[in-house]
Symmetry: C2
């Protein structure tokens, strides 16, 4: 098969006449929600999704203050306090004193947390493999691309005026 990826079998790529961005995003969110739900229910995972979201944010953005982390992970600060305590006890994150500000902590991802995150991702991939078996290389390609696109957008913070912690540059 030629890798001419677009317009697959049923010409999907060329028939999105007037779908406005809002609709596209709405669909994307709907399907994302269902996928996340499937993943959560399919892996017998004991950890809450918030745990993995938090670790992933730390991996992507590097050490953050607790408040920054809460905002980035879209939870309230008290929720993040509890979450971080739990993660700290597991050894998955470190609470570093912020030398410049005694009130604050720098939360950083411990190597064991990164390992746990990777393990979770692998487990997830295996658990969901039956659903995605037989995906064409082309489709896999599209999913990789979409992940990256959304990923980039998530780390923006348009609502607050681009706080960008450690310079994402």
């Amino acid at each position: 098969m030629d890798d001419q990826k677009p317009t697959d079998a049923n010409g999907a790529r060329i028939l999105h006449p007037d779908r406005d961005l809002a609709t596209v995003i709405g669909d994307l969110v709907a399907v994302s929600s269902r996928l996340a739900r499937l993943a959560a229910s399919e892996t017998g995972n004991a950890e809450s999704p918030a745990v993995w979201r938090t670790l992933a944010v730390l991996r992507d953005l590097g050490p953050l203050r607790l408040g920054e982390l809460a905002r980035a992970s879209r939870v309230a600060q008290p929720t993040m306090t509890k979450l971080v305590h739990a993660l700290d006890e597991r050894g998955w994150v470190r609470r570093l004193v912020d030398a410049a500000d005694g009130r604050a902590w720098k939360i950083s991802l411990d190597p064991s947390g990164l390992a746990a995150l990777d393990a979770w991702r692998a487990e997830l991939g295996e658990a969901l493999a039956p659903w995605f078996a037989g995906l064409s290389p082309d489709d896999v390609d599209t999913l990789i691309d979409a992940s990256r696109i959304v990923h980039e957008r998530l780390d923006l913070q348009p609502a607050r005026g681009a706080v960008r912690p450690g310079g994402v540059a």
Copy 2:
């Protein structure tokens, strides 16, 4: 307008050397989880995500029995019972007697439920627009495609005996 979409600006589509499927799925789920969370927190929406998931499933699969609906929406049956009662009171779904089986109901999406779902999607799109502003047509295309791909997979139920619609070869 040349719809030559593949291999976008930075040639993303061709540089995924050895990423195995599990990793791709893991990333996809991680990013989906964060997106869903963002959406939930960004719209002041009073309804739980389960409401929208359920309506979306009904829209996609048509009238279902309560138990089937619970499985498709990935919640326990009692949870779906409560959910359906709430949706019924809002007039968003109808509980039709199953003539062939007095124990069961057929839950069907009411037009008003479909309208609510559309309205939610629109609201969502607007709320998240700031994050996705300036997306290239090509990227939008990728997201549409990815939504469709995942969507198709979600409606499969591999656990119950590989329904596989169009043999994936």
